[in-house]
């Protein structure tokens, strides 16, 4: 078995990122798009931690990952609040129907 190094984590992260982008592009449910965003943020975090372990050996990458996780939590709360208003106005969370410009 090949020794696991930085490139393994980079390929895994690229795979998670691409899957997140595909998820964002294909889902019509607004919450499905939010889940795609979470996948992309996770792939970024894998990159940060892998570089912190294999390249610098310092904790800075881990600290940035904490910021990403906290921002993702705040962003999810905001997005859910927006989707609730969306649902209250249109009785659906289908993003293809969110094409009215008045509330």
């Amino acid at each position: 078995m090949l020794a696991v190094g930085l490139s393994h984590y980079l390929v895994l992260s690229a795979l998670l990122f691409s899957l997140g982008v595909v998820c964002m592009a294909t889902k019509r449910n607004a919450i499905g798009i939010l889940i795609g965003v979470e996948l992309v943020l996770n792939s970024a975090n894998v990159n940060l931690i892998a570089f912190s372990k294999f390249q610098t050996g310092l904790v800075d990458g881990q600290v940035f990952a904490v910021f990403v996780i906290l921002l993702a939590a705040a962003e999810a709360a905001l997005a859910i609040a927006i989707f609730m208003n969306f649902y209250n106005n249109l009785q659906t969370v289908d993003v293809d129907r969110g094409d009215v410009l008045r509330g």
């Binding site: 696991v4 393994h8 390929v11 889902k27 881990q62 996780i69 939590a73 705040a74 609730m84």
Partner: protein
Amino acid sequence: MDSVAAEQGRSLKDHMDDLAFYIFAAISVASAFGVVVSQNIVRTALFLLGTLGGVAGLYFLLDANLIAVIQLIVYAGGTLILIVFGIMLTSKSPWAEFKPPKSQIVLAAFVGLLMFIGITSLTLSGEVNWAARATKTPLATSPKVAEAGEALLTTYLVPFEVDLTAIGAAYLAKTEK
């Protein structure tokens, strides 16, 4: 890469770590595929839990114990619950499905594949020599949880506080109607 010389100095623990990497990577990637393929939004959220758990395992392997625990508590415990509640509050039936047109699926899969090939070919081509850019040897002692916590509350105190403010802003936006 001198694989023969690298193979000599590797202990059983290193091989177990490699095996654990492949297991956690398989869990997270398979769950991510499930997230993309599943048409049911409740199952999508459940598959996201698998990805988050697998990635948390990878953090443990990367000696980032603090991040792994935060990932499990904040992401799997908090954000995912928020998403599940959002699903329950925004669908008349939990089995409601919105199918995208087939042309969009094909286009998105093509773009995603192109993106993956582009990123991996760039990282693996040797265009960027990662080993030469490393500022440490990979076998140095791993950072401890206390070090990460200390950096968070000394060097990075201001960004940390700003980040917490963002959560407060999200809370205000949610309660204000």
